[in-house]
Amino acid sequence: MNEFQFIDDAMPDVPLADPVRVAETKARALNGARLSRRRIEGRSRGRFGWAVAAVATATVVAFVMTVPRLGTDTAPPAGGPGEVLEAVADRAAARPEPVESRYWRTTTEIFLRVRVNGYVVDDWGRQTLWYSPTLPTVREWTRLGTVPSTEEDRAAWERAGSPELCELTRGCGDDHLPPVDRTLVMPDPPNRPARPLQVFGVGLDLKEIRELPKNPVDLKARLLTYWPVYSRTQPKGPAEKVDDWLWSVGTSLLWDAPISPGTGAAVYRMLAGLPDARIIGTAQGPHGRAAIALARSSSFEGTESRILIDPSTGDPLGLRKMLVTARDGMPSGAVTTTITVQKSGWTDTSPRMPKGCTLEDAERCVY
């Protein structure tokens, strides 16, 4: 054996990459995007570095889920899936109560895989919601890229004449589509609606969010009071079942709304108790992280949705949707949607508002 073969054989190998992350990296590379220096350096700082950075930062972020907490019980819980979920929900409930500040900010990275015109397209974007108790809500959308999903899809796209690949969530007809890696700011009208925070079709105000029950039975009953209004306002089509809607509302509450830790735990337990829901004790989270998952198939969407949870802290990590059966040239099990929570918490910073950006002058709202 020569020494190079010996080293190759002897030294530890690495597991295969998460295919969703590879596809994300590929799209970013092909769109000429750059990973931010902060992200590269931040990753390599390790836990202690994060803690130092957090202390050194003047900005007050009362509750940021992406920063690992030191000194807490971080060992993954043991036992069957039900026991693991109970333990994780307990940890979620034990998180510190968030301290209200200027804005509730939630940043999620969204991946969509959709078949259009004979080929499958992958699309990435980053969304930030800035919700204030007193100021108009601001939404930001950063376009990260749109590319054919595989080489076969690229070939089909080229045969079709390489038409413009439009962002799936906004479409080619949107005049205000920002270029790749640029951000569009979308301020709400200055007159705040009575219930400014939209949680999957339900308008809520801060008081209602604060008062959401911390018990899963009471929480479900409270959410169901919103169902009649919601279902009446939906366009006619395949009927959405109330349990499908509860699943979507619960999921959205987890990162789109400043719910209390106790309500977060109640959401987990309520979702786990819905018909057809199951608990996956060992799942792959975003970027290969360990996770537990709450999974449920929706006949309405034809997908299985998995809510991914950090087993060490109880923090929600995001969502992954997969096809239940082969569809649109994609096999059963193909990932069609991922939502990855990047930040979620109160902050005293404010959204960046480009000069001259108003609701009527969206062209000035790109930075």
Partner: protein
């Protein structure tokens, strides 16, 4: 000799996807065997972002796509030299991770000189950066000596001399003949 289609695949924006598909996993694996995996994931992505931005400067006369990519990756690893050495020292103390039993068994079957991963890690930590780059580009990347010279932008003779020194150090540290 590099194929014309390979040059096109690097320079042509639309065809760069083929370069990514062909080489991403091996570049990630190369970095992941030298640094912690979460850092390696970022550096593998950065390797291809840099390659994409510099694709117009890719010079086929100086070598192939693989040495070019391995060269970018090795430069990025160089920014994390201390982390790499810390990793080897940790492996030297503890050996491979506990979930690597199958791998350990495979090694145990092939290595008869009683050399452990820990001792090999200690030996790699004691190489200079230049020596380690040469050894691991060959061991993990399977590059030829000429390709290593292209990847690192050094002369063939420099590769040969670094290898000679590295071999001597490895044998001295490990106390066994491994070739």
């Amino acid at each position: 000799m590099i194929a014309v289609s390979e040059v096109a695949s690097v320079v042509d924006r639309e065809r760069f996807a083929a370069v990514f598909d062909a080489h991403y996993e091996e570049i990630r694996r190369y970095i992941g065997r030298r640094l912690d995996l979460d850092v390696a994931e970022d550096l593998a992505a950065e390797t291809f972002l840099i390659a994409f931005h510099r694709r117009g400067r890719f010079d086929a006369a100086r070598g192939g796509v693989r040495p070019w990519l391995y060269g970018i990756a090795t430069n990025l690893i160089g920014r994390h030299r201390r982390a790499e050495i810390r990793r080897y020292r940790a492996l030297a103390r503890t050996g491979p991770p506990p979930d690597d039993d199958g791998h350990d068994q495979r090694v145990a079957e092939r290595v008869t000189a009683g050399v452990t991963v820990g001792r090999l890690s200690g030996a790699l930590a004691r190489l200079s950066k230049g020596e380690r780059d040469v050894v691991l580009l060959i061991a993990y990347g399977g590059l030829t000596y000429e390709e290593v010279a292209e990847a690192l932008g050094v002369a063939y003779g420099t590769v040969a001399s670094r290898l000679s020194r590295a071999r001597t150090k490895l044998r001295d540290t490990l106390g066994v003949e491994v070739c």
